[in-house]
Amino acid sequence: MKMFRFFDPGRELNFVQYFRPSLYLAALMPIIAIVGSIVLGINWGIDFAGGMEMQIQFSKPVAAEEIRDVLEDLGFHKHQVQRYGAKDSNEMLVRVERLSTFKPEDAVRVQKVIANNMLIDTEKSVEVLFNENISDRFSVKIPAPKMPATATAEQTAEALLNQHHQLAKVLDEKSGFKLRRSKRVGEETADINNAVMHDEPKDGFVQYNIHFTGVSDKIGQILSQKFGQAEIRRVEFVDSQVSKQLRTDGILAVFYAILAILIYIAIRFDIFFSPGAVVALVQDTFGAFLVFVFGRYEFDLPSIAALLTVVGVSVINTVVVYDRIRETMPTGTKNLDDAEITHCVNKAVNDTLSRTINTTLTTLFSSVALWIFAGGAIKSFAITLTVGLSLGAFSYTFAAPATYLFLRRYFKNRPNLFASDKTQQGPTREEKARGIV
């Protein structure tokens, strides 16, 4: 029976002639990636940049420009609007960076509104407190209701409650901020009074915390009014503190993964091999990273997963090639000449070529299928993987064995410098295999 194969096994292709240029390419990858990301910047996803992202589906086509105008009117000056998914789905991705719709000038207005409507003599005794990072809340401090000295605690509490209700009504109707309507457990109707909470009066003043409708609701409402039905299909909000933490964790994760794998290789093979694994890994990972630099894809949590998968796959394949080189090298001879070493390496690469192609193809089939069909949330994940895996096919064939070859040639007269040649000691591969299979 005839076997199907990509290459005739009898013929040996000369890969070594491309070794030197392949190393230049490998060195170029991180340089391009680093310079590129400094010059062009990285399109940080919501996970790492913080902010709020919404996926909105409209019932009819809406131009991104129109949505931008609406956002601009609402006071979101840093925003991104882009089409999402298929063209006929009328879906848009909206991202806003500043989270609060409460601006300093609003504070002044709220102060006026309260002073004019709550029978407070002077605006100065109304204090408005807010934090631009908190999306849907502000506080006001106003004089507590004045009570005669003879008033009972119950009367005082009741006066406070009246003030509470009055404040909620005034703010909801006149401040331009709609208070959140919510039900208390057991109540039938939603009420704005639950959106206001008061603290214990202190020194004649009482502080109220006011919750108004959230940013996503507000944007959704206004877009619905303008463009007909607008369904918010997905909302993601990440606080700047969390995003910072995620970023540090992400960098550490990649670092630890690489470190752990390299330690494994150093133990498993001898020291000539490790640097090549690093070179291959650097080429593949930074190469895949170019997707984010030049493709402008969002760099988010799944992207880290994709990069780590590329790291894993890159090392696997390097290991397989190395395993072959180790096997092809004649054992026991320490002083091989250049030609012999070169031949062994070239033969090992040839021998594993068919496997490299097949494996790359099967994994690429998976990642491309994800890219084309799954799309959405894991699109950048799939693209990163596809690029990383494709680049990988070259790094295992060229850069990794090249590094080994050059190192071995350079140190060939001093092999005792790195004495642990595993092929000369310990159980043979056959013995090991028999123990388990």
């Binding site: 909470m197 997963a305 099967t362 994994t363 990642s367 299928a369 993987l385 090991k432």
Partner: protein
């Protein structure tokens, strides 16, 4: 070794059967209709009725991105809880010093870094200071001295107390949030602690982010209402629903008389019926609220009614702190001490003065927890609720702990902020399921075709092994009751692609041996042995990458890592063990050729 292939085939057949058995509930779960799914989500036990009797019930759960829902991370401001505690301690210190007539010029809070967690006490003379040390500070075991000079003393809370305060703040917030979420009608919610001061909340199928946020983030709904034990309207009711009983019990008043507690008792599942029955029958000044009665955990939960006055006399905002005590000098029974705010203390004082001998219901989130009797007028802002008789001391302490927790959990102990919030609408979830399925089908089909085209019969063996790998993976996930998200599907598909890799390595090796002129049976043997180290190495490295992802990742990323890890481990087994069976099966007849 190839003689044993029959035995090994049998073994793998049994394993495959077990895996398929484990997947039965998952299969049934994913074929439920929309309405059935809703029912199952509401009531976990309902799922068992769709299962055959012999089946287990663990199944794969669709993640939030596939079925829609909300994911939130709340940050608990534990620092605020700490500075609040310091401030209250300072208040108590001041009061106690005044009582003991220990002279000081000032007691004030002092900042330690950004936080007001230190107490500075100033004195006019060193004598005052040493008197204060002896008479006052000895009673405050929770305070430690940070620094001291002739005329001042800097104190702060004991580090152990600081630790427990921080921890309690988060734990109590979790309890409160769980109570609230339970009442939102969300099913299978997951509420867990993340890191030191964060709480992760997942609400599958819930799609109203704003409402969820306002329900979860608001302050407590702890209320105190007086019981109306004078009205006899319940006794006048006729035609009580079936299995609803009218009960009259009496309690002792401090003046020696006894009061009557009249209520309806019924099983929990009658609640809606009883509510409907009582509607319109209650007088305008009263309101009926419900509470659990009887012991928890034994048999069906019994509920009872409480007839209360409508007016809410005190609310949770007025409660500052609670703690369990093992009995006081005046009353040896264990109880719960409550501290009220200044306003609360005044209201409580007036209330108790007017209501000695009456009962006050403690209503948490509209459910009556208990209704203790006022034994005496209570001034000074702290009250003690003694646990009732008829219980052992141990049980009473347990009750006290429970009540203290209920009272405390009424008030969120520290402010919370929303740190992270992700919500996915159900329609998007359905789309994701569809696209995930399609990606998986196309991807795996391409892999299968390539393998069969390239390696022919041997390729087919690999495909069988890889498919078995998939079944084993899904079975493992189902047994773990794991969540499946879109990244999880990506992990499955990727493992599918990579699991073939082991077979590719082995097949290539066998081909080589054949080229060298070996007979199929010995080519297979050496092929497997030579390829083994490469297979192991490649799996170990993937495993390492997966472990790191698992460690670092959250939610979806962790899901991806989990499928990767499980897949890697199983793939060694299927690639090396399963395919070998097939090879041994065909080479056992000693053929001259091998389709590879």
């Amino acid at each position: 070794m190839y003689q044993t292939w029959k035995l090994r085939l049998l073994l793998s057949g049994i394993l495959l059967g077990t895996a398929v058995y484990a997947l039965v509930p998952t299969f049934i779960y994913f074929s439920l209709s929309e309405a059935q799914l809703k029912e199952v989500r509401r009531d976990k036990d309902a799922f068992s009725k769709y299962l055959p009797k012999w089946s287990i019930s663990n199944h794969i759960v669709p993640g939030l991105d596939l079925q829609g829902g909300m994911h939130m991370v709340l940050g608990v401001d534990v620092d605020k809880a700490l500075s609040d505690k310091t401030s209250r301690t300072a208040d108590r210190l001041r009061q106690f010093a005044l009582e003991k007539k220990s002279a000081f010029t000032q007691i004030e809070l002092m900042a330690d870094g950004d936080l007001q967690t230190r107490i500075l006490v100033r004195f006019a003379s060193p004598n005052d200071l040493s008197h204060f040390n002896k008479a006052v500070l000895d009673q405050f075991g929770e305070l430690v001295v940070v620094s001291q000079d002739n005329s001042s003393l800097t104190l702060q809370l004991d580090p152990r107390l600081v630790q427990s305060t921080r921890r309690d703040a988060v734990d109590q917030t979790i309890i409160t949030i769980r109570n609230r979420v339970d009442k939102m009608g969300v099913t299978e919610p997951s509420i867990s602690k993340r890191g030191e001061d964060q709480i992760q909340i997942q609400l599958p199928g819930y799609d109203n982010p704003d409402e969820a946020k306002s329900l979860i983030g608001r302050t407590a709904q702890l209320e105190f209402q007086m019981c109306d034990d004078t009205t006899l309207f319940l006794t006048a009711l006729k035609d009580l629903p079936k299995d609803v009983e009218l009960v009259t019990s009496s309690y002792h008043r401090p003046d020696g008389t006894s009061g009557k507690d009249i209520f309806l008792a019924f099983n929990e599942n009658k609640l809606i019926e009883v509510k409907a029955f009582l509607k319109g029958k209650v007088s305008s000044e009263n309101v009926i609220k419900y509470g659990k009665s009887g012991q928890a955990g034994l048999g069906p939960v019994m509920m009872r009614t409480y007839t209360l006055y409508k007016k809410v006399v005190l609310a949770g905002d007025d409660l500052v702190n609670t703690s369990v005590n093992m009995g006081l000098e005046t009353d040896p029974r264990p109880g719960v001490s409550i501290t009220f705010s200044a306003t609360g203390a005044r209201i409580f004082d007036e209330l108790t003065a007017a209501n000695i001998g009456n009962r006050m219901a403690i209503v948490l989130e509209d459910l009556v927890d208990s209704a203790p009797v006022f034994q005496t007028r209570i001034s000074g802002g702290s009250a003690n609720i003694s646990m009732g008789g008829g219980r052992t001391r141990e049980e009473s302490i347990k009750d006290a702990n429970q009540l203290s927790l209920v009272l405390k959990s009424g008030a969120l102990p520290a402010p919370v902020t929303f740190r992270e919030e992700r919500s996915v609408g159900p329609s998007l979830g359905a789309d994701s399921v569809k696209s995930g399925e399609r990606a998986f089908l196309v991807g795996s089909l391409l892999v299968i075709l390539l393998m069969i085209f390239y390696y022919r019969l041997s390729g087919f063996f690999s495909v069988v092994a890889v498919l078995m790998n998939l079944v084993f993976m899904l079975a493992a996930l189902a047994l773990l009751g794991a969540t499946m998200t879109l990244p999880g599907i990506a992990g499955l598909l990727l493992t599918f692609g990579m699991a073939v890799d082991a077979n590719v390595i082995i097949n290539e090796r066998i081909r080589e041996e054949l080229r060298r002129g070996k007979m199929p049976s010995s080519a297979v043997k050496t092929g497997y042995e030579a390829a083994f180290s490469a297979v192991i190495d490649s799996h170990v490295t993937t495993f390492i990458a997966g472990m790191v992802l698992w460690q670092y990742g959250t939610g979806p990323v962790q899901n991806f890592a989990m499928t990767l890890l499980i897949g890697t481990v199983l793939s060694i087994f299927t690639a090396v063990f399963i395919t070998r069976i097939f090879f041994d099966m065909i080479t056992s007849k000693g053929p001259k050729e091998l389709s590879i």
